[in-house]
Amino acid sequence: MLLQISEPGESQIKEACKQRVVGIDLGTTNSLVAYVADGSPIVIGEDPIVPSVVKYAGKDVVVGREAVGVDGALASVKRLIGRGMKDIESVRKLLPYELVGDDRSVKLVVDGKEVSPVEVSAEILKSLKLRAEAALGGPIEGAVITVPAYFDDAQRQATRDAGRLAGLEVMRLMAEPTAAAVAYGLDRGSQGMYAVFDLGGGTFDISILKLVEGVFEVRATGGDSALGGDDLDRAIATGIVPELATLPRAEVTKLVAEARRVKEALTDREAEAFAGKNVRVDRAQLREWAKPLLERCLKACRRVLKDAELTREQLDGVILVGGSTRSPVVREAVAEFFAKQPLADLDPDQVVALGAAVQADVLGGGEQQVVLLDVVPLSLGVEMMGGVVEKLIHRNTTIPTGATQTFATYADNQTGFDIHVLQGERETADACRSLARFTLRGVPPMIAGMARVEITFLVDADGLLKVMAKELTTGKEASIEVKPSYGLSDEEVERMLIESFEFAETDLALRNLLTERVEAERILAATRGAFVSDAAASEHLLDPEVRVAGDAAMQALETAMAGDDHLKIRAAIEQLDLATKPFAQARMNRAVEAQLRGLTLDEAESQVSH
């Protein structure tokens, strides 16, 4: 039945929007628009690069080249889109305009009026739309707009809103490195395993894709979304003028602009004078200033390779994307890291727009048959007893996807089950991003561990998460839809990822502590319960001396639990075990013999590990 419906549906689409769809690369520094003509994508305009700069002049709005360098022009707005004030704290000082806002959004102050990053971005998109309409001779019916692979839901949503505001039908938001891979795959017939190294003005993405016969499978993606050419400009300016951060805003803007000019000049020249400072900068100097930034890039590269379970040698090629990869300093570092000469034969400024044009053509009913398999950028999970995160869906899982897991109640007669949904790579709940909390009520009162709750995560093709919970004995259900990265800023995503690696050890210690505390609580409850039931039984197995020793050991364990040394808790647990051993043995002898004979590995490990 479904297939019968699909046939007319598809042919209608083909007829309806066969023509005039475009791909747009909405960049931090520059933007471009491209379309597919006779089967191959081309960028639009004699000078296709439109600087992402907007100047409001009374009723008029000037966009692009003419707005560059004009007093009060707005640049690098992409760094603000879909962000709250807190998220942009680190870049705020360096942006040459005033900002107001709250935790959810920011606005730019222009001539006393407030304008949102969405509106500014929409002006850029409008200008690109006009450009495309002039070139194609009619209204644009659909557009694919690219976003950094690491853009979160709020940022994607805001970008989509900007498209709508510009009067565009946004057919899809596409990851920038994926778009670049599509362009290479089709233009160069590239097949195999490729890394896309995308260093733009304000973002860095690294993706590994398998390209084969029209399928583009993202194997792993990573990045550092607060890192780009802008940061290198500032590093150069700071290198020349160490007190840069303390200077007035206008001065900073001027110095950073000169740093950028010097950086760009060093692409073709060995040395260049830094105007007004009587200093010459050479490539060796630039290399040194760039080193910490490149090291951050390469760190992300290493992690993505590991996630993809690949070695550098297994890559068929490395594709360079983004204006910042024009710099020889960047190219050298990439070539050295991957031990191969990176591909840059398609213009790194244009390649993203070209790939987006291809995807627009596909969605608009064009001839190309291309399938993109994208992934979840950050793991999704729930909080467990003790604040530990249980991951249900791991990062780099192909979307759409889903996962189901069953959890047992922790306490006797527990009637509610709190579900805390989290995103991030860290082991503990408070180090991950909280997405949602909800409670499943009406769990039938039972002994701890008897009532079971099944939790299901579903992620759709747009990366949106839906969580459902079901109590298994009664079938009671609760569900909630969450946007997985709602309100999660780029920097937060990136910080969470970086921290999860840098602090893996701290995390492990904390996880051990939480695990031991839970274990201690369980043992205390079990011991108390056994003491009580023994007192009530007709035949007492508990020796009064053992009782005294047991009480003392329980008290010692409670003291240890109040501290934060998991080894001490573990030792106290073992002491309690030891103290109550005669009693436990007596109980065990009486109990059914068949069980508990063999030693499980986990038990064995817990005995020898300390």
Binding site: I5, S6, R172, V215, L372, P400, G402, A461, A504, V608
Partner: protein, 174 residues
């Protein structure tokens, strides 16, 4: 960890593959790519809502199927589950193996405490060799229709993989 959703059909059928262990990885990948071309939600971008929902759930099941079957351990576990054999959280190794694992762990812990990267790498390589041997055991057990052997090997692999994760974590500290 992909989990079969209650409604999903047999993962092998979904990929159009025979339900067996010895499958060429490139064959599985090709099957996945071919199916993705038919089922990916992009292909139904402008279809009626009901059809989009159906496409989404089929595509999700397809991705889960691939995730589960693409690697030998997942594939073996899935085949075992379908044969009605489950592996619990506290499965027992035989005593000789327990001793072996415990010793290897102690060695790793010592090397880690001493910050001896070369030693950790050596232990990692040794364990990888063991893993390769276990995978070949798995294949033999499937060929011989030896369900108990498959289960025992999967349990060993669980400990081997956990050990290799610890090696990774130890090397990351450097």
């Amino acid at each position: 960890m992909a989990v079969e959703s209650p409604s999903s059909s047999n993962f092998f059928e979904l990929l159009g593959l025979p339900a067996r262990f010895d499958l060429d990885p490139s064959l599985i990948e090709r099957a996945f790519f071919d199916r993705s071309k038919e089922l990916h939600p992009d292909r139904f971008a402008s279809a009626p809502a009901a059809e989009r929902v159906a496409a989404l759930s089929r595509s999700r099941a397809l991705n889960d199927a691939y995730q589960t079957l693409k690697k030998p351990v997942g594939r073996a576990q899935y085949l075992l589950e379908r044969a009605g054999v489950t592996i619990g959280d506290n499965e027992r190794l035989d005593p000789a193996q327990i001793m072996e694992v415990l010793e290897a762990r102690e060695e790793l812990a010592e090397a880690r405490a001493a910050g001896n990267t070369a030693k950790i790498e050596q232990l990692q390589t040794a364990m990888r060799t063991k893993r390769a041997a276990a995978l070949s055991d798995l294949e033999k057990a499937f060929a011989a229709d030896d369900t108990a052997g498959v289960k025992a090997t999967l349990i060993s692999l669980r400990y081997i993989d956990r050990y290799l994760e610890e090696c990774d974590a130890a090397l990351d500290e450097e």
